[in-house]
Symmetry: C2
Subunit: 343 residues, 2 copies
DNA sequence: TCTTGACACTCAAGCGCTTTAGCGAGCACC
DNA sequence: GGTGCTCGCTAAAGCGCTTGAGTGTCAAGA
């Protein structure tokens, strides 16, 4: 920068003004400085910038999930790639960290805050009794909660949310229209806010419609638990005629487990996956799934965070309701007692 | 820090010495300073540290892959989580970026370098005629190439490599022992170095054994291409009796495609997936797969980078040869002409 | 002619830390 | 008793940038 100042024949401050688009230099000088800077391939040192109060030009993202459920999910990489896309436009960096659990995640936020490492954070997987909004509010760290319900208690946080309730209602609509009355929802982690929302909505919808045998079972999202729960519920009497899985991995594992028990999909039991991916298109039958655009979700979240960093007030925005892509795994409910069971 | 100095009754420099374990203060003072710092919940500002020449305490990782192949692969999230694990021990941050292509990736390195944003980088997916080692050498940015062959031309870069050649040889061993002589390798992106290594090894092994009909077909790793190629090669006459897929996604898609054509796995055709994951265990039959520990791969790479940052000389380390986990998708080769084809 | 003010720019302080040079005290040694 | 050394510490500069206060110039207005 000193070099630029020297070569352009002005002071360092002038260079700073010129390069940051601030008033205080003539257009001629600005252009000259810009040219010299370009020639020299100059880029501001983020460290120096951060030190003089400009912020770290970095956004943080912590993922707190058990390690074994990490790789399975296609959702997060898509999400991150969407986030990236928006951040890259402004040359903001994404600091990524994997944490053990929420407590660990909070520690990371504290550290980042103390070290002035990030200007804001994206919070994933909001939970029941989540300590994170509280903490971030306290630290004054701008944050966007991804997938959370609008949270009136923490007006400082923005929220980007998918309408799980609406989506669940539409799935139940679809299934009841096909004659299903015994539905089991193989849900995800019980602590997650969206898991609770889905469960609550399912129960409400079932009551509204007078459906008797409808329930949710929580899992850890793994194929193992998905298969185990499937075996368990299909062993009940009478077994459900429709299964809703909270992710694609469990849905696929569930179909395999069902097949092992002699249940045909969709003749004996219909299956819906709450997550669309290549997986759903690779198995036989292809799975009917709720498609959402995870990358777009990430983009929206990142944009909200940028707005927050620009000083805009926090707000809550929704992303489109995921829609059900019907494929071969959903069909009319089997008439009561008509299911085939392997002897 | 000023506060600490005041409360501990020493100068700021003494605090710096004490906290960084440098000589120049008595043990008594050091302990006192440490205590006060802890009390105050002090953490050094990364920005200030970086500015005074300590480095950014951050490692960069760029992923340059077509967006649609991103979410599918379980490999990367596992890898990153392994990397993280090691970096976290030293409180190093991981700056993550998704790039369009290698040129874009190079631009990111240049920017990071100019902005002093990272102390080193991890380079994934080494390619044939890869410009990145050259660039990183030129910039003097410490780097570890993940999955690259040891590169003698760039002695500044460390390399962490998996023995693809050995693994391929063992797979061919296994298949020929089962009587397979017509093998098709559905490979990944043709530019990737490890794709080339696998292809070359397969050819060499085939020649060594006098196997006639052995070839590799490159793809973009997607389920779509995996299925398409499978259909194409199984339509040949005579069709191969064994298929080796370079990732799990294609293998699963391939099995489905084979089933569509009336080929039974493993009676008509054996399938091996070069990537083990929940996916391989979810389909019927369960897929025989090469298992490697991606997280451990990431940990090793991160450790190598740390060593580099500590001033150790660059070196090349191997990770264990992935071993073939036999499951239901491999069996004896069908006798020539004995395959069933749907009429 | 003198004031006023806008404008283009410079000066210098300061962000929070590291680090080199230096200083005084205490000690050993000849 | 002086010299030379080590030890524990302080003072101050500097990393690269931003920024508020200040300076000089020129043109318009009184």
């Amino acid at each position: 920068m000193k070099d630029i100042a020297r070569r352009a024949g002005v002071s360092e401050s002038a260079v700073s003004f010129a390069l940051n688009g601030r008033p205080g230099v003539s257009e001629a000088t600005r252009a000259r400085v810009r040219r010299v800077a370009e020639q020299l391939g100059w880029r501001p040192s983020t460290a120096a910038r951060a030190l003089s109060g400009e912020g770290a030009a970095t956004v943080g993202f912590v993922l707190a999930r058990p390690a074994h459920t990490l790789g399975v999910d296609s959702f997060f990489l898509q999400l991150v790639s969407g986030i990236q896309e928006v951040l890259a436009e402004r040359h903001l960096g994404l600091l990524f960290q994997v944490a053990e659990d929420v407590a660990d995640e909070c520690a990371v936020y504290r550290r980042w805050w103390a070290e002035h490492r990030v200007d804001g954070v994206l919070v994933a997987d909001p939970r029941a009794a989540d300590p994170r909004p509280e903490l971030l509010d306290e630290l004054g760290l701008p944050a966007v909660v991804i997938g959370g319900a609008p949270d009136v208690r923490h007006p400082g946080l923005s929220t980007v949310w998918a309408d799980d309730a609406g989506a669940m209602a539409s799935v139940v609509d679809e299934l009841t229209a096909l004659g299903h009355r015994r539905i089991v929802h193989i849900a995800g982690l019980p602590d997650l806010a969206h898991t609770r929302r889905r469960i609550a909505t399912l129960r409400a919808e079932a009551e509204r419609r007078g459906l008797g045998e409808v329930r949710s079972v929580t899992t850890d999202y793994s194929d193992t638990e998905g298969a185990a729960v499937t075996r368990r519920v299909l062993g009940g009497s009478p077994p459900p005629t429709a299964l809703i899985y909270d992710n694609d991995v469990m849905a696929v594992a569930g179909v395999a487990a069902a097949a092992d028990l002699g249940f045909c999909v969709p003749q004996d039991v219909s299956v819906v996956s709450w997550e669309d991916s290549a997986l759903c298109r690779m198995v036989t039958p292809r799975l009917s799934a709720l498609s959402r655009d995870s990358a777009a979700f990430g983009r929206t979240a990142a944009r909200e965070l940028l707005a927050l960093l620009d000083g805009a007030p926090a707000r809550s925005v929704g992303v489109p309701v995921p829609r059900l892509t019907g494929r071969g795994s959903t069909g009319r409910a089997a008439p009561a007692g008509g299911r085939r069971v392997r002897e």
